[in-house]
Assembly symmetry: C2
Homo-oligomer: 451 residues x 2
């Protein structure tokens, strides 16, 4: 028997704004950050190491401490819990943490308290995987349809998807599981790269990175757009020149447009043969996305990285407002909510192409996409998962991408443990990196004052 004995909550920030990595029309200077949760136990993992769970949510810098504070208050409620009992009823753990009506008021089910809940539950899922000695995708794929549906948060969804329908959907995919796992072992799960197309990169860097992406085997490239139409036309021209007519190009506006403007701007870029326009407007605007979808077809509409919960995804699907579901593993409240969205997407026949990048999102969404293929949708057709090649070196079990495909995760857990040295260096503001940077800034200010 093992119990959770203590928690650690860390505010970890990486200085990505220095290199314009991650820059887009809305987010010009993000410092990719993680509110990082460690659940310590008095148990021992299958490999003999101390049993613990490691989870995170992703933010872009300032305010990461606010999410960390919320995560602390939520995670403290798990201290003393029996790990085996938790792992046997992860739906119950989720309901326990979401049953605090006072905290619920701060959302409900959105914003800081939902991001922090994601971090805490992600750690709980990592712990459950380590206890079982399985990667999280496998832990879930091995469940019966009833067990998997019991994990999913179906509250408020019954007008679109009943529990019985969900079980039926999963039952229909049971027979091919072993064959699909074998396929994943052989070829992995297809991904695309955003690393080439950040808005802050020069034309030369864009051209070089597009060529490198092709050389690495990528078939899909995504560019950030929306700050200036002439720039977008020039950058799309460069990208098409490099990748040729047969590879796939997507664009991402990061919410900068109103509805009518989104339609006009996207159509102005239509000659570049685009698969999708991503986040054309406010992520809350279901009906706006539906109007944009009608206005830009056959270009598809993609959104989801800021879609804050399953009730919003339900409506996007009911309204026929999205062609690609880009759920985010740090914004939805962990696999409990993600499984519900995968089930909705399967029912509405919407391909799930998870958002990734940031810190640790790639590590998580590989599990999500594998699970979707093995147990829920049963297909990789028309699906491609985001990959951004930043910051993986900080993880003990980083995702591996080969030939434009994620390799099947094999180690127990959710792949979200960070190296203790990385945490010590980038903990904000007292980690060694930030202390040195602040000291250098102070010295330079003193020098300027002296001159």
């Amino acid at each position: 028997m093992a119990r959770i004995t203590s928690i650690e909550i860390e505010d970890v920030r990486f200085p990505t704004s220095l290199t314009a990595d991650g820059s887009d029309a809305m987010n010009k200077d993000g410092d990719y950050s993680a509110a990082y949760v460690v659940l310590r136990t008095d148990g021992v993992a299958a490999d003999g190491s101390p049993l613990a769970g490691f989870g995170l949510t992703f933010t872009t810098g300032r305010g990461n401490d606010i999410v960390a504070l919320a995560a602390r208050q939520q995670a403290e409620q798990l201290i003393g819990q029996d790990v085996e009992e938790m792992a046997a009823d992860m739906g119950g753990v989720y309901r326990f943490l979401t049953s605090d009506a006072q905290m619920r008021w701060l959302g409900p089910e959105k914003g800081v308290v939902h991001l922090s809940l994601s971090a805490v539950m992600n750690a709980a899922w990592d712990l459950a995987g380590r206890l079982a000695g399985k990667p999280v995708w496998r832990l879930l794929a091995d469940m019966t349809p009833e067990q998997l549906v019991d994990v999913a948060d179906l509250r408020y969804l019954s007008d679109a998807l009943t529990r019985d329908e969900a079980i039926e959907l999963l039952r229909a995919k049971e027979s091919g599981k072993a064959a699909r796992i074998a396929e994943l072992e052989a070829t992995g799960y297809p991904c695309y790269t955003t690393s080439a197309g950040w808005l802050g990169y020069s034309d030369e860097k864009l051209r070089r990175l597009c060529q490198e992406a092709i050389d690495e085997g990528y078939n899909h490239i995504k560019l950030k757009v929306g700050a200036n139409l002439a720039d977008d036309i020039r950058r799309c021209t460069i990208a098409r020149e490099v990748i040729g007519p047969d590879r796939v190009l997507m664009i991402d506006a990061n919410q900068v447009w109103d509805v009518d403007q989104a339609i006009e701007w996207t159509n102005a870029l239509a000659p570049f043969d685009l698969l999708w326009i991503e986040e054309p407007t406010s992520p809350d605007d279901v009906l706006g996305h539906a109007a944009i979808k009608r206005g830009v077809a056959p270009i598809g509409v993609a959104t989801g990285e800021h879609c804050h919960n399953r009730v919003m995804f339900k409506q996007f699907m009911q309204a026929g407002a999205l062609d690609f579901c880009q759920l985010d593993a740090g914004r939805l409240a962990s696999l409990n909510e993600i499984v519900a969205v995968l089930l909705l997407a399967a029912k509405f026949d919407v391909p799930v192409c998870p958002h990734a990048g940031g810190v640790g999102l790639c590590e998580m969404v590989q599990h999500v996409s594998m699970l979707d293929f093995v147990a829920v949708s049963g297909t990789r057709e028309g699906r491609v998962t985001e990959f951004v090649d930043h910051l993986h070196e900080h993880f003990t079990d980083p995702c591996i991408v080969t030939n434009a495909a994620y390799s099947l995760p094999r180690l127990p857990g959710y792949s979200t443990q960070m190296h203790p040295a990385s945490v010590a260096e980038y903990r904000f503001p007292e980690g060694s990196y930030w202390r040195e940077r602040h000291a250098a800034a102070a010295a330079s200010a003193n020098l300027a004052a002296a001159v």
Copy 2:
């Protein structure tokens, strides 16, 4: 010239859970709380007192410290700002505070960072009113249509309401302003009471409070429902017995139902002749509310206290999903967003009946309803604003309700300054009330251990 010289952020909590005040099917034990923001300046108000701004947002207890932390980070950016420049461009102040893309990631425009933004901007509006020597409703009502539209956040709304349409709407209401202000001075703005109908009250208390409400002149009574249908039928029976067939009865489910269940349960209570069902399901579910509206007509659908921003309200109106718009002055990001919602409601001809209660919400929404009547919708027809008679004694300029109507606020500002003694007593956890309560709890635990 005056500048903001310092800020104070307070986590103030009142122990309302002890008396079941505020209890409903979702929120059984709220401790009504305020994340309270004070903007100090080096200026002097019209009455010779030190010029400052006082604002708040409302929460139900735990997590109020999280909102306070976010408010601190936002308010700190105002230190050093020129108060007259701020007051002359409140739209600019709002855009300045919402332009931090790193903080935006934590919403966007929802949850903790939006609640805290509301508190900070509410304080800024209070400050602007005090600088002008006007109550905030009057400050806004005295603006030209162009000035008022410049204050409003119309981003993402242009597919439903353009700037030109908004100006036209306001211009059409300019001529009758003085007459409407005179009407308000004479008769106030109609309100209803929720104080009778909390779920945790006994039948006897419900009966007594309904009678008292009638005696005080109320024409509308609202009951909390949704925990148990037999209880709801019994409580509606009691309420109807007391208020008779001609007064108005509303019910409020506080989000406990799925869509189909909401339709069934509400229709089961239809014999009690209900004006509206409030918060029947998830506050995010625009399409669900539209289905419920179709399923329960002629009972109206009301929602808004958890509607997190103007983009959601836009969709509720576009989808024809609500009959009564219950915007919340502590959840929307202050008057900048509220004015946008008032304009949308005027365009879509939806009556605005603001949510109130909690701490300080009544003090704020009286300004909102007065402004709506004087300058935006131009009518009180079919409108009634919530009033709950709790905690007003903690404010220096509490709302005054006479004969079931809010009196026109006359003092400068937004009526949201709390008595310093109240803050000192209920500051959490170090205020005198909470220190004494914790000491008493510890003593009682020691006594139990000794016995």
